[in-house]
Symmetry: C2
Subunit: 240 residues, 2 copies
């Protein structure tokens, strides 16, 4: 890993790369669905909710909507997804939806994430560069023991990935050149956008992020600066 | 501490309250002065540098200058203070001043800070609400082991204390009402500004922050919600 000698900070995609959002959301949706849509598949619910994630942020990225934190977008998307499962939003009390919306704050890390991050933290600044908002990332880290040095990401820089500002302003608040920052992600598209901005890139496959039939991001699609099996392997490759 | 039951986050003033800026800056200034102004008092240098802190931020608070991170203000103030010690800024290479400016990133905590914060973290979200910028707070925390849940403060909210926006926007990114947030500080003025915004307040005296002849903030000047001898006593009072 000769190429990593100038790198001072590792920033991480979180949903999918550090934590397993699909299982976590399905877990919390399960009790909700048992009450409101018996027989509905909690994993299908998680997938349907997540499917509205990127289009909602696109409203912000396009400039049609001012920056709005992800918790608000998730909450709107939740109401939008209910009818797909035969649930009338008017039949559910608001506080119950607020509680379900917090599923995203309570996601479990992949088994290698916490030990891998702890090792990487010895040499590098480590921080999330997620589209999740500050409080979401904070609650998740506190519950799961993710040892971040700071909570960075979309809300700090007021821009959603893959907009270039999300990467460039994050390097800027770290007072680093883009080439001194490496994005760690399980998504080729995220890494491509980061590389376009001059950041270094590390790919970790998460082949069950979308469940057993996942068809995307099964392998690296470019010559990323590092390619590791998981966070612990990344630490290993970097001599930590 | 009946009144603390609704509080979810403790946010901390840092310079003076969590760390001993005067000794730390004097330590790093000492070698610099030995080279450029033999015989000069490093503590007097630290005091003179710090004296320019508030006026520099006032330029931002007043709107005369766009938000500028503290590292930049510190660096400008450093050049301004050199002639007071008989040093011509033109005689010092820029990289040496850059290095001295990092003294603020390497301040030591008071002895009770790390153990106290670790205890408070068990029940509360803990984060700096400092005028220091993100990278400064991050470097300080990583070096000293300050166990913050997130790095908040002036750069995140683009406002310098005691402007109301600094407190109100910090509560807002935490998705809390001001009354659910408590500022912990050694400075009565900071606490008064926070209370004005609806935050709760905790005072910890740091009677040697300004050296042995300190005349200000020796005691609480109002009925703050908590008054503790140090961070560990605050944890004790809160049953942690």
């Amino acid at each position: 890993m000769q190429s990593f000698t100038d790198i001072q900070a590792l920033v991480f995609d979180v949903f999918g790369t550090v934590v397993d959002w699909r299982s976590g959301v399905a877990r919390d949706a399960s009790a909700f669905l048992a009450r409101h849509a018996p027989g509905a598949d909690p994993f299908a619910f998680a997938d349907a909710w997540r499917l509205r994630y990127s289009p909602a942020m696109q409203e912000v990225r396009s400039g049609r909507r001012p920056f709005t934190r992800l918790d608000v977008l998730h909450r709107e998307n939740l109401e939008a997804v209910l009818p797909q499962f035969g649930i009338d939003p008017a039949d559910v009390v608001s506080s119950e939806l607020d509680a379900l919306n917090l599923a995203w704050h309570s996601l479990d890390p992949w088994p290698d994430s916490v030990p891998g991050l702890a090792r990487l933290k010895r040499r590098f600044i480590i921080a999330p560069l997620s589209n999740g908002n500050i409080r979401l990332m904070l609650d998740m880290a506190k519950r799961a023991g993710l040892p971040w040095d700071a909570i960075l990401g979309a809300e700090v820089v007021q821009a959603y990935k893959p907009a270039p500002e999300a990467y460039l302003r994050t390097a800027e608040v770290l007072m680093l050149k883009p080439a001194q920052v490496c994005l760690v992600a399980a998504h080729n598209g995220d890494l491509a956008a980061a590389r376009q901005c001059g950041l270094r890139t590390a790919f970790i496959p998460r082949t069950t992020e979308h469940g057993p039939d996942q068809a995307t991001d099964l392998r690296p699609e470019s010559d990323w600066d590092a390619i590791a099996a998981d966070m612990e392997d990344l630490a290993e490759q970097l001599g930590l």
